[in-house]
């Protein structure tokens, strides 16, 4: 049970809807509601915006592919014992 109420996308301002569209494109999946983490990060765009840009830069293909990096992200999440 989350410690906060995760708002539905409809409860966010217009600017956040663009972030949710970007999130949908990033995951290439048509979510009924944006992922909870996307909604958490959209709560304060002054934090979520640069955090999201840093994530996209880190995940962009470079010497390692996006797929390689998804696997790195998965093992890091495992090492942090995070099931999200």
């Amino acid at each position: 049970m989350p410690t906060v109420r995760i708002r539905n996308a409809s409860e966010y301002p217009e600017a956040a809807q663009k972030l949710f569209d970007l999130s949908k494109a990033w995951f290439a999946h048509d979510f009924a509601e944006p992922p909870a983490m996307s909604r958490v990060m959209a709560w304060d765009p002054e934090f979520g915006g640069p955090h999201g840009r840093a994530m996209k830069r880190a995940m962009a293909p470079g010497e390692f592919t996006r797929a390689d990096k998804e696997m790195v992200a998965a093992v890091v999440s495992g090492a942090n014992a995070c099931r999200y």
Binding site: H29, V40, A58, E63, E70, V72, A74, V76
Partner: protein, 182 residues
């Protein structure tokens, strides 16, 4: 990355990396002195030579566990198989091991796998890519845990119907449905 075989291989790398890190970081030489190579028997020396050829050095935990030659031999076989190229490249495996070592704050593992990444030709840009992913997902995971978010992306990954290696495809009635973690 749709096939489970890739993820089994990655999990083996994570597990055996952690196994080496635990001994290296938890049993420094002043706590349990490593075996002097000159004191090793011929069979143990052959294993140590193989380790040196693989890494370009002999990582400390191998000399620590060389006090039990048969255990060293089996552990090394698992490490070697785990890091050899099968479905995943050695380069990606070293990146996974580096990220896991960094995340679990293993000074030994971070140094070893950073050295291996560089030996395999990964440049500073590539190293920073792995550091960036490890750092960003260390942030996301803690935000998720602090807010106790439930996973809502587990269902978007496809399920791999392939059997275990050498096995048979399960009949639909006996296959247990499961969800795959992202």
């Amino acid at each position: 990355m749709k096939e489970d075989a890739l993820w089994y291989e990655a999990a083996y790398v994570v597990g055996i990396t952690n196994a080496l890190n635990v001994v290296a970081d938890g049993l420094p030489p002043d706590v349990l002195p490593p075996l002097a190579e000159s004191a090793a028997d011929a069979q143990t020396r052959a294993v140590i030579d193989e380790i040196r050829a693989f890494y370009g050095e002999v990582p400390a935990p191998f000399l620590t566990i060389a006090r039990d030659p048969r255990y060293l031999s089996d552990l090394w076989a698992a490490v070697r198989h785990g890091f050899d190229e099968h479905r995943l490249t050695r380069r990606l495996k070293e990146a996974l091991a580096f990220a896991v070592s960094l995340t679990s704050r293993s000074a030994f593992g971070t140094r070893l796998h950073l050295t291996q990444l560089r030996r395999l030709g990964v440049g500073e840009g590539g190293v920073m890519e792995v550091v960036g992913v490890a750092q960003m997902f260390s942030s996301y995971t803690k935000i998720a845990d602090t807010l106790q978010l439930a996973s809502d992306m587990g269902d978007i990954a496809p399920v791999d119907p392939a059997p275990a290696p050498g096995g048979r495809v399960a009949r639909p009635s006996t296959a247990r449905p499961r969800r795959k973690q992202r």
